[in-house]
Symmetry: C2
Subunit: 175 residues, 2 copies
Amino acid sequence: MRKKIAVDMDNVLVDIEKHFIDWYEKEYGLRIEQEKLLGVPEEEGFPDKEAVKRFLYTPGFFRTAPIMNGAIKAMEILCKKFDIYIVSAAMEFPQSLIEKVEWLKEHFPAISWKNIVLCGDKSVIHCDYLIDDHIKNLDFFRGQPLLFSASHNIHHTHHKRLNNWEEVLNYFESI
Amino acid sequence: MRKKIAVDMDNVLVDIEKHFIDWYEKEYGLRIEQEKLLGVPEEEGFPDKEAVKRFLYTPGFFRTAPIMNGAIKAMEILCKKFDIYIVSAAMEFPQSLIEKVEWLKEHFPAISWKNIVLCGDKSVIHCDYLIDDHIKNLDFFRGQPLLFSASHNIHHTHHKRLNNWEEVLNYFESI
């Protein structure tokens, strides 16, 4: 039986960190260096601490986000051997629901609607693997948790870390 | 640790069958008796076999659906002892995503966004119980499947059947 991989969207398929930096620059005229975001929650890396939260509730924010480097090629390869489920904690931002579905349809048209899960708390998700940037999602996961590197999570050490999509592919080739 | 109950929306929290009958009457001037829907897939119980599918894609259909009898009181009682997750296979109808969230917010305001899951295939959901009207969701469920009666499922016998919310309450009081 094919194993199931749950794949997070923001900071995994979606380069939401770059999108925060771009939107911040567009609105405030100030480009924040990525180093400022290292080891702190995303909203705290920016001079205006309210900006990130506001972006998250702004229509169009999720729909226009860029794709994470290497994600398209890696997903094409993984799809051949695994059942991939996209699992995004989108429920806090209801306007994002349709935007996330449309974003996936545009950038990952091979993913069926059957394999998309938009939720709040991910503790009720059961797959064999979860690739996610948030410890809160990985800590209670029943399968193998895989921490996808993002600036905010660089100090966490208690999960298997994969720094980018190339490392994800290497991991799944090695198991 | 509190046990988790996954609760389906259509035909469980939402009286979608009544809504189909009401919309059909409004559009075609013909009220279909519920007996016509017994033991057949929902779309086949109506003279125009395309009507149900069309309603499912019509903006406003899910948002205006009536609540299932007894659901509000039963959910209030169950919430005290169990963690309730609303799990709806909404992804086939993307326009329904925001409508379902808004419907829940109106009729079940106590349910947190953290406890809402909108998905395609429910096989990746893990809770202790699933209350659902569809065999396809219950057959692959890892916990205890509970079949909520709907006209289309009356001939199925291989899951524990609960005919209405009163029987749901009795079941959870008895275990």
